[in-house]
C-alpha cells in the first residue's frame, strides 16, 4: 500500500457485530485460496474421522493372490506386495498422520509459547538461558536431531511426535519471544499494569493472544513439516511400526518400487501426503485471519 487508505474508509460505516461463524465464513469466502484450503482440510478431517468406515477393504488384510496389482476397478489405487488395498490404506492412514502432526505441533506450540513468552516478557537471565537452549537445538540440522532422538528412544509413534515437537519448538519460542518482546512496553500493556494485572496475567491474556496471528502461519507450516518429517524417518527405517498404515512409510517403501514399475505404491500415498502438506501450508493465511480480530471488518 503506497498511500494510506483514508481513515474514513478504514473505520467508516457502522461495523456490524460479527459472530465467530460469520467471521469464519467471511475468511473462507474472502480469499479463494483459503476457501480451497479449508475445503481440503475438511476432506482430510472427514477421512480421519470416518476413514475406517469409508474404505472398501480392510487396510491390514493381505491377499497373497492379488499382490502388486495396478490400479483397477476393484482396487482404485492398486495393491501392495502383500495384496493389501492401497486406497484403503491411504484413507485409513489419514487419522494417524493428522494425529502425529497435530500432536507434535500442539506440543511444540504450547511448550514453545511458554518458554518464548517468559523469555520475551521477563528478559534478563531467563531470556539468556532460554535463548542459549534454543540456539543449541537450532544448531542441529533439524532432521538429524529428530533422527537421533527417535533412534535413541525407539521408533514409536510417541517418540516421533516428541522428536518432531522438539525440533519445532524453537520456532515457536523465538516467534513468541519476539512478538512479546516488541509489545512489552506497549501502551496497552502499561494500561493493563495500571488495571492491576500481574506480570503473568499480562503475558497470558494481553501479550500472548497478540502473538497468535503470525503463530498461526507457523502452525500451518509445521503441520506439513511434521508429516514430512515422519515420512523421512520412515525412509531411513525409523517410522511407525508395520502394519499400521502411514503415508510416510508407504511412500518410503513404495519409492523402492518405482523403478520396477509399481508406481502406484508410492504415487498415491505420496499424493495424499502432498495434499495434506499442501493443505496445511495454504491454510496458514486463513488461520491467521481467523484468529486476528483486526480482520473482522
Amino acid at each position: 500500500m503506497h498511500a494510506p487508505v483514508p481513515a474514513s474508509i478504514a473505520a467508516a460505516g457502522p461495523a456490524p457485530r460479527y459472530g465467530w461463524l460469520r467471521h469464519l465464513r467471511h475468511v473462507v469466502t474472502g480469499n479463494p485460496v483459503t476457501g480451497v484450503a479449508f475445503a481440503l482440510f475438511l476432506l482430510l478431517v472427514i477421512a480421519a474421522l470416518f476413514g475406517p468406515w469409508l474404505v472398501p477393504y480392510d487396510p491390514l488384510a493381505t491377499n497373497a493372490a492379488a499382490a502388486l496389482q495396478p490400479p483397477s476397478a476393484a482396487h482404485w489405487f492398486g495393491t501392495d506386495q502383500l495384496g493389501r488395498d492401497v486406497l484403503s490404506r491411504v484413507v485409513v492412514a489419514t487419522r494417524l498422520d493428522l494425529a502425529i502432526s497435530v500432536a507434535a505441533v500442539a506440543l511444540a506450540f504450547v511448550a514453545g509459547s511458554v518458554i518464548g513468552g517468559l523469555a520475551g516478557f521477563y528478559g534478563g537471565w531467563i531470556d539468556r538461558v532460554a535463548g542459549r537452549c534454543l540456539d543449541t537445538i537450532m544448531a542441529f540440522p533439524l532432521f538429524v536431531l529428530a533422527m537421533g532422538i527417535v533412534a535413541a528412544a525407539g521408533n514409536t509413534v510417541e517418540n516421533i511426535v516428541y522428536a518432531t515437537a522438539l525440533i519445532n519448538l524453537p520456532f515457536y519460542a523465538r516467534m513468541v519471544r519476539a512478538e512479546v518482546n516488541v509489545r512489552r512496553e506497549a501502551g496497552f500493556v502499561q494500561a493493563a499494569r495500571l488495571s492491576g494485572n500481574g506480570g503473568l496475567r499480562i503475558l497470558a491474556f494481553h501479550l500472548f493472544p497478540n502473538a497468535l496471528p503470525p503463530l498461526m502461519i507457523q502452525v500451518s507450516l509445521n503441520m506439513g513439516w511434521a508429516i514430512l518429517n515422519a515420512a523421512g524417518l520412515s525412509f531411513i527405517g525409523l517410522g511407525v511400526r508395520p502394519p499400521t498404515p502411514e503415508w510416510g512409510i508407504m511412500v518410503a517403501e513404495g519409492a523402492n518400487f518405482i523403478v520396477s514399475g509399481e508406481w502406484w505404491l508410492a504415487l498415491f500415498p505420496g499424493a495424499a501426503l502432498m495434499l495434506a502438506v499442501f493443505t496445511f501450508n495454504l491454510l496458514g493465511d486463513g488461520l491467521r485471519d481467523l484468529v486476528d480480530p483486526q480482520r473482522r471488518t
Binding site: 497373497a64 502383500l82 495384496g83 511400526r241 502394519p243 523403478v259
Partner: protein
C-alpha cells in the same frame, strides 16, 4: 597417458585414499571399455583387514580378492548351469600340495615355489606361520572362526622350511581343512607387516587396515571409504588362472532402487546381492541375466524364544509351526526364489541340510495343539525382525502376524535397528519371537546345529537347551561324514529339531546377482561377498 599410468602403478599402498591420484583425471578410455568391470553393492567396506576388530562382513572381500589362503574350494556347476563353489573339493591356492599325516593329527603343506607377494618377495613358510598365528591370536571373529576348525594356538603352526608348513591338530576334525579355505586364514606379507608393526600393535593392525600386503590376484588401487574400492589385477598371481579383467570397481550405492536402475540400464556390470523381488522380475524380463543360488546351510526361520513362558511348551511351538502361511510367505516375501522348506516327509531318511520340515499350513491342527496347552485362548507377543533384513523380514512378519491371529496369538511387529539387533537378539537373546537367517560357512549339518541349537551359542537365539541335542552335536561336529555313526546321529538331530521346533524353517533363501549379459564367470560363494577373481567378459 602412459606416464600417468606408470605413476598410478607406482603409487605406494601406503598413500591410498581419496585424492591420491592427482595426476590422473580419468582412467584410460580403453580400460574403461574392456578392461574394467563395475560391481555395485549396497554395503560399505570398512576395513581392508579382515582380522581387525570391527571389520564388517562386506569387507571380507578384500581377504578373498587380495590375499591367498593355503587352500580354496573347487567349483561345481549347479543344475541350472550356474557356477558355485564346491564344499566337497579342496583345491590348492598358495599350497601346491598337502599331506595329512597317517595318524590324522597333522598336515604338511608345500608352498608354490614361484609364489610371490606384490612386492616381488617370495611367499615363505614364515609368512604363513605369522599369518595363521595372527588369526588365532587377535581375538574376535577370526579367532572364533579358527577355533571352529580346531585351530586355537600359534603352537599348532610350524615352518618346517622355507616352503613347508606343518599344522598340528588337537583332535582330528573334518572341519579343519575346509576351515583353512574360508577367507579368515589368509596369508600376509609378514616382512611388510612386521616393518609396520609397533610395540602396541605387534600384528600391524593399523597398517594393514588401510594397506593390504598380500599375494592375491588383485591389489587395492584406491579406497574411498563409503564410496568405492578399486581393484587392479596382480599380473604375477600364481594362485589360480589370471583374472579376465584388469580392474574391478566396487561401487557402494545405498539405494536399492538406484542399483536396480543402474543394472537395468547397463551402466554397471554386476549388481551384487539383489532383493528377491528384483531377481524374479529381472529374470522374467530376460534382458538382465540373474543368477540365484540357494544359500547352502542357511535358512530363514521363525524363532520362538524358550525363555518366554508360552514357548516353553513344545505344543505351542508346534502350533505356531502349523499356523504359518508358508506358501504366501514364499511367494510374497521370498518371491519364489530359493527353496521351500515346509511340507516335507513326516520322517526323513535324508541327512541333507537344510531339508523341508514336516509342517504345512493347517490352522485346525494348530488350534487343536494350542487348545491342549495352557494358552488355549491365545496370548500376545511382539514379533521382531532386523531392520537390515526388512526386505523379506517385513512381509514375512506381516503374513505370520495374520496367520497367528487365526489361532488367537496376537502379535505386534517390532523393527529392530541393525545395531541393536545383534545385542538383543543374539547376545542377550531376549526377543520372544523373531525372524532369523543364520547360515553356516562350513557346509555340514552339524556345523549349523552347533551354532543354532546349542545352549549359549550365538545363533541359538531361541535359548534352546536340550541335553540330547548337545550330545549329538558334540559327537558329530568333528566326526568324518563317512563315519557309519554319522548319518544316524544327524538323522536323529534333524528329527529332534523338527519335533522341538525351537526354530521354525520358512524357506531357504537364494543369493541373487544380476549382471549385464556380457559378464561371465560369476560364481557363488558361501561367504556371500564378491569374489571378483573369476569375473570377466564374455567373448564376442
Amino acid at each position: 597417458m602412459m606416464n600417468r599410468r606408470d605413476v598410478l602403478r607406482g603409487v605406494s599402498a601406503a598413500t591410498l585414499g581419496a585424492g591420491v591420484l592427482p595426476f590422473l583425471k580419468a582412467l584410460p578410455a580403453a580400460a574403461a571399455a574392456g578392461d574394467t568391470l563395475v560391481v555395485v553393492t549396497g554395503t560399505t567396506i570398512n576395513s581392508l583387514d579382515l582380522h581387525r576388530t570391527g571389520t564388517n562382513r562386506p569387507s571380507y572381500q578384500v581377504a578373498v580378492n587380495c590375499y591367498d589362503r593355503l587352500l580354496t574350494f573347487g567349483t561345481k556347476t549347479m543344475p541350472d548351469g550356474t557356477l558355485a563353489y564346491d564344499y566337497d573339493t579342496l583345491k590348492p591356492e598358495l599350497a601346491e600340495s598337502w599331506e595329512v599325516a597317517p595318524d590324522g593329527m597333522s598336515v604338511v603343506f608345500h608352498l608354490r615355489a614361484n609364489a610371490t607377494f606384490w612386492d616381488g618377495t617370495p611367499v615363505t613358510a614364515e609368512d604363513v606361520k605369522w599369518s595363521l598365528d595372527r588369526a588365532v591370536t587377535v581375538g574376535g571373529f577370526p579367532t572364533t572362526q579358527m577355533q571352529a576348525g580346531g585351530l586355537t594356538e600359534p603352537g599348532q603352526f610350524e615352518a618346517v622350511d622355507d616352503k613347508t608348513v606343518r599344522i598340528r591338530f588337537h583332535r582330528p576334525s573334518k572341519l579343519t581343512l575346509p576351515d583353512l579355505a574360508v577367507p579368515v586364514p589368509f596369508i600376509i606379507n609378514s616382512k611388510v607387516a612386521r616393518a609396520n608393526a609397533t610395540a602396541d600393535d605387534p600384528w600391524a593392525m593399523e597398517y594393514l587396515h588401510r594397506n593390504p600386503a598380500g599375494s592375491g590376484a588383485f591389489r587395492v588401487e584406491r579406497w574411498d571409504p563409503g564410496q568405492q574400492l578399486v581393484y587392479v589385477r596382480n599380473d604375477g598371481w600364481t594362485g589360480g588362472p589370471l583374472p579376465g579383467v584388469k580392474r574391478v570397481i566396487i561401487r557402494e550405492i545405498p539405494s536399492q532402487a538406484t542399483r536396480r536402475a543402474l543394472v537395468e540400464r547397463g551402466d554397471i556390470h554386476l549388481s551384487y546381492d539383489i532383493p528377491a523381488k528384483d531377481a524374479r522380475e529381472l529374470a522374467a524380463g530376460g534382458k538382465v541375466p540373474v543368477v540365484g543360488t540357494p544359500v547352502e546351510n542357511c535358512l530363514n526361520v521363525l524363532c520362538p524364544n524358550l525363555s518366554f513362558e508360552p514357548f516353553r511348551d513344545k505344543r505351542v511351538r508346534q502350533a505356531i509351526a502349523w499356523a504359518i502361511p508358508y506358501e504366501d510367505i514364499f511367494r510374497n516375501a521370498g518371491y519364489g526364489r530359493g527353496a521351500p522348506m515346509w511340507g516335507g516327509a513326516a520322517s526323513s531318511d535324508s541327512i541333507a541340510w537344510p531339508q523341508p520340515s514336516p509342517y504345512t499350513t493347517d490352522y485346525d491342527k494348530a488350534k487343536a495343539l494350542l487348545s491342549e496347552t495352557a494358552f488355549a485362548g491365545g496370548f500376545e507377543v511382539p514379533l521382531s525382525f532386523d531392520l537390515g533384513t526388512a526386505e523379506w523380514g517385513e512381509p514375512t512378519a506381516l503374513l505370520i502376524q495374520e496367520g497367528l491371529a487365526k489361532i488367537g496369538i496376537r502379535t505386534t511387529i517390532d523393527k529392530i535397528p541393525g545395531a541393536n539387533w545383534r545385542t538383543v537378539a543374539l547376545v542377550e537373546k531376549k526377543l520372544p519371537l523373531h525372524l532369523e537367517n543364520f547360515g553356516g560357512w562350513l557346509n555340514t549339518p552339524d556345523y549349523y546345529f552347533y551354532w543354532a541349537y546349542v545352549k549359549g551359542n550365538l545363533f541359538n537365539s531361541s535359548n534352546y537347551d536340550d541335553d540330547e541335542m548337545m550330545k549329538l552335536v558334540d559327537e558329530t561336529l568333528h566326526m568324518r561324514m563317512d563315519d557309519p555313526a554319522y548319518a544316524p546321529k544327524i538323522r536323529r538331530m534333524i528329527t529332534k529339531a523338527f519335533d522341538d521346533v525351537p526354530r521354525i524353517p520358512l524357506w531357504q533363501p537364494s543369493f541373487e546377482v544380476a549382471m549385464r549379459p556380457d559378464v561371465a564367470g560369476y560364481q557363488f560363494w558361501f561367504h556371500r561377498v564378491p569374489d571378483v577373481r573369476t569375473l570377466g567378459f564374455r567373448q564376442a
